[in-house]
C-alpha cells in the first residue's frame, strides 16, 4: 500500500475510532491468551516458596529470587537430562538431514518410476500415530538390547522427523534452478558431486528450516522417551520434569517453584529459536501442512 491512502485512512470518524479500539482489545486478548501461561510460569519461578504457597495469590514477587534456578541447575539428574536431550535432538536432526537430503535430491530432481508412490508413503508417515507402532518398536528395541539407551530414541524419533524433512526439502530442491545443475554436468561432475557441491550448498536455507523443526520435535517428544528409557541417567528433559514433580517430596507435595524454573530452562532455548527463526518456521510449517 502506498503512503497516500494510508494517511487518508488515518482520518477516521469517531465510530471508526471506537471500532479500532475494540480491535486492539481483541489483539490484546489474543496476546494475553497466548503468552500468559509462560509469563505466569516465569513469575512463579522467581518467587520464594513462602510467596508461592500463599493465599491470596501474589501477582508479582515481593522478594524475587533465583533460588529455584540454582536448585534445578545444581540437580545432577536434571543436568544429565538436559545433556541427553541435546544429544538426542542434535543426533536426530543430523541423521534426518543427512538421510533426508539424499532422498529429497532424488525426489526433487529425478524422474523415475515409483516416485509418486515414495512421496505418498513419506506423506502417509507424517499422519502416522506413534502409538500404532509402539508395541512392535518396544519388542524390536528389546530384541536389539537397546532398551534404556539413547540410541533407541535417536532411531525411533526418525519416524516423525524424517518424513517431514524429506517432504519440505524436496520442495526446496525442486526450486533450485536447473541450469546450475546442468552446467555442473557439462563440466563432467557426477551425480554425487552435483549433490554435494551444487545442490547441498544451495539447499542450506531449506536445511536450516527443517533442521530447526526436527530439533524442536525431538526436544518435545515424550511418549517414546517414557516408553523406551527407564533410569534417570537416560531420561530426556520432558521425562525428567514429569518424574521430578511426581517423586519429589518435601514441605509441599510438589516443588512447584523448581518445576516452573525447570520448565523455563527447558523452554527458553525453544522460544528463542522460534522467535529468531519465526519466518523460516512458519514457511516450513505451512509448506509441510498446506501442500499435504
Amino acid at each position: 500500500m502506498s503512503g497516500a491512502p494510508r494517511r487518508a485512512a488515518r482520518r477516521r470518524s469517531p465510530g471508526q475510532g471506537a471500532l479500532r479500539a475494540l480491535f486492539y482489545v481483541l489483539v490484546a486478548a489474543v496476546l494475553v491468551f497466548t503468552v500468559f501461561p509462560f509469563v505466569w510460569a516465569f513469575v512463579s519461578s522467581i518467587k520464594p516458596d513462602d510467596e508461592l504457597f500463599t493465599t491470596p495469590v501474589r501477582y508479582w514477587p515481593g522478594r524475587a529470587t533465583l533460588d529455584n534456578y540454582r536448585l534445578v541447575l545444581a540437580n545432577g539428574e536434571f543436568q544429565t537430562a538436559l545433556l541427553n536431550s541435546v544429544i538426542v535432538a542434535v543426533s536426530v536432526t543430523a541423521v534426518s538431514l543427512a538421510v533426508g537430503s539424499l532422498a529429497a535430491y532424488a525426489l526433487g530432481r529425478f524422474r523415475f518410476r515409483g516416485r509418486s508412490l515414495v512421496l505418498y508413503v513419506v506423506l502417509g508417515m507424517t499422519i502416522f500415530p506413534q502409538i500404532a507402532v509402539l508395541g512392535a518398536l518396544f519388542e524390536m528395541i528389546n530384541f536389539f538390547k537397546l532398551y534404556n539407551q539413547l540410541t533407541a530414541l535417536i532411531l525411533t524419533y526418525l519416524i516423525f522427523t524424517l518424513p517431514f524433512t524429506v517432504w519440505v526439502l524436496t520442495g526446496f530442491m525442486k526450486a533450485i534452478p536447473r541450469e546450475i545443475e546442468e552446467a555442473a554436468y557439462v563440466d563432467g561432475a557426477t551425480h554425487w558431486q552435483v549433490f554435494t557441491r551444487v545442490m547441498l550448498p544451495l539447499a542450506v536455507p531449506g536445511m536450516a528450516t527443517t533442521g530447526i523443526l526436527a530439533f524442536i520435535a525431538a526436544w518435545n517428544e515424550f511418549l517414546f522417551a517414557l516408553s523406551f528409557t527407564q533410569t534417570p541417567d537416560k531420561r530426556t528433559v520432558t521425562y525428567a520434569i514429569q518424574a521430578f514433580s511426581t517423586t519429589s517430596s518435601g514441605l509441599y507435595e510438589i516443588p512447584w517453584g523448581q518445576t516452573m524454573a525447570a520448565s523455563i530452562v527447558v523452554t527458553v532455548p525453544l522460544v528463542v529459536l522460534t522467535l529468531v527463526f519465526q519466518r523460516r518456521i512458519l514457511a516450513g510449517l505451512t509448506a509441510g501442512a498446506v501442500k499435504g
Partner: protein, 310 residues
Amino acid sequence: MSMPANPAATSAAAPPDHPSLDARRQRRAWLFLLPTLAVVAFIALYPLAQTFYLSFTNARLGTGEPASIIGAQNYVDLVQDSYFLDAVLLTVLFTVVTVLGELALGLGVALVVNSRFKGRSAVRAAMLIPWAIPTVISAQMWKWMYNDVYGVFNDLLVNQLGVLDRNVAFVADPAVSFWAVALIDVWKTTPFMALLLLAGLQLIPHDLYEAARVDGATALQQFTRITLPLLRPSMLVALIFRTLDALRVFDVFFVMFGNRPDMQTMATYAQQTLVSVSNIGYGSAISVALFLIIAVFIMIYLAVFRAEEA
C-alpha cells in the same frame, strides 16, 4: 568451458534422453533413496505390520514364553472392556470438543492477525510460543495455574472477579477435569490452527473483496460468500491434521492425570498396557483400534468435503 576430463561424461554427447542414460538415472535415484527407504521400512512399515500381527497374539514381554496366535480374542475382549470403551468415548469427545473449539477460535484469531495493525508481526511471532513449548511442560504450567489452593485461576475466579464462591479442584474434580485438559489443548493449538488458516487467507486474491464492495456486499456477505468458501481447502487440511493429533493425544492426559481410570485416552491406555503391563498382544489391539478410528475420521472428512463440492 573446459573439456570434460571424465570419460563417462563423453556419453553426454549422445542425446540426453538416451535409454541407457535414463536407466542409469533411474538406478541413481533409487540409490539416493535407499537410506530413507531403509529407515522407513525398519521403523515404520515393518513395525506397523508387526503391530497388526501382534494384535492377534497373546504376546507378553519378559515371560520368556513364545507368543501364540489367538485369533480375534483380543478384539473380543476389547469390546467387553469397559476401560477401553470409556477411553474411546473420552478420546472421541475430546477430539470433537477441542477441534471444533480450535477451528472457531483459530478462525477468529486468523481474521484478527490478517488485518493491518501496528505490531502485527510481533503478535504472529508470539503465537508460535505455545506451539514451541513441549506439551509435557505446558501441561505442568497449567497444572500449577489450576492448583486448587494456590492456583492463579482460583484466585482470579474467586477473589478478583467473584464469579465463584469457593475454589475448584480443576484437576481432581471429575466434573471439570475434562474441560480443564481440553482448554490446555485449545490454548496450545489454536495459534497453530490460526497460522494455517492465515496462510489460507493470504491466498485469497484481494480484488475479490474490492469487487464485492463495489457491488455493495456487506462485511458479513463477503465473509460467507468469499472468505469461507475459498478457505475450505486450508480448513480441510487443518482439520485433518488437528483431528489426527487429538485422537492420538497422550502427553497432556498423562501429565495431568497419570493412570487415573476415568481419564484414560486410547493412547494412554495403549501405552500403559504395552509398557507398564507388558501385554504386547492386547496393547497392539488397542493401537490397531485407534488406527481404524483415525481412518474412519479421515474418510468422513473427505466424504463431507467431496459431497459439498458436488
